[in-house]
Symmetry: C2
C-alpha cells in the first residue's frame, strides 16, 4: 500500500466510519434506552462488517481487517444492547 496524501485521506475516512459508532455505544450503554434504535440497521451493518472482515482476510489487507474488527465489535455490541434493553 502506498503511503501518500491520498492514502492518508483514506485511512482518516476509515477511522471516522469505524470509531463513529463509539459515541452511540457509550450513549446506549449509559442510558439503556434503545427505543429509537433500529435493530435491522445494526444487524445489517454488523453482517456487512463481518463480510468486509472476510474480504480483508482474503485480499490480505491489514487496513480492511483492522478497521472491520473494530467496526464489527462496536456494531455487534449495539445489536446485543438492543436485544437486551428493548421492550
Amino acid at each position: 500500500m502506498q503511503i501518500n496524501a491520498v492514502e492518508i485521506l483514506g485511512l482518516v475516512a476509515a477511522c471516522f466510519t469505524t470509531f463513529g459508532f463509539l459515541p452511540q455505544m457509550r450513549k446506549t450503554w449509559r442510558t439503556k434506552d434503545v427505543t429509537s434504535l433500529s435493530l435491522p440497521m445494526y444487524s445489517v451493518i454488523c453482517t456487512g462488517t463481518a463480510l468486509w472482515l472476510i474480504y480483508g482476510l482474503l485480499i490480505n489487507s491489514t487496513a480492511v481487517i483492522l478497521a472491520n474488527i473494530v467496526a464489527f465489535a462496536f456494531t455487534f455490541s449495539l445489536v446485543i444492547l438492543i436485544l437486551k434493553y428493548r421492550k
Copy 2:
C-alpha cells in the same frame, strides 16, 4: 477492478454497510423519535462518508464513489432528522 468471487464478496459487503442505514432512516422518519440516537455518531459517520467520497474521486473508484454517495445521503438525512426532532 477484477470481477471474481472475492470482489463480489467485497461488493456485497459494501451494499450491507451502505443500505444498512435505510431501516434506521425509515424508522426515524416514521416515528420522529430520536431520543436514543447519538448525534455525534451520525455526524462522525457522515463526515467519514464525505471523506470516503473525496478519496473515491481521487483514486477514481466508481464502487467507492457510488457506495459513499448513498451512505452520505442516508447519514446526512439522519443528522438532519436528529437536529429537527431532538428536544
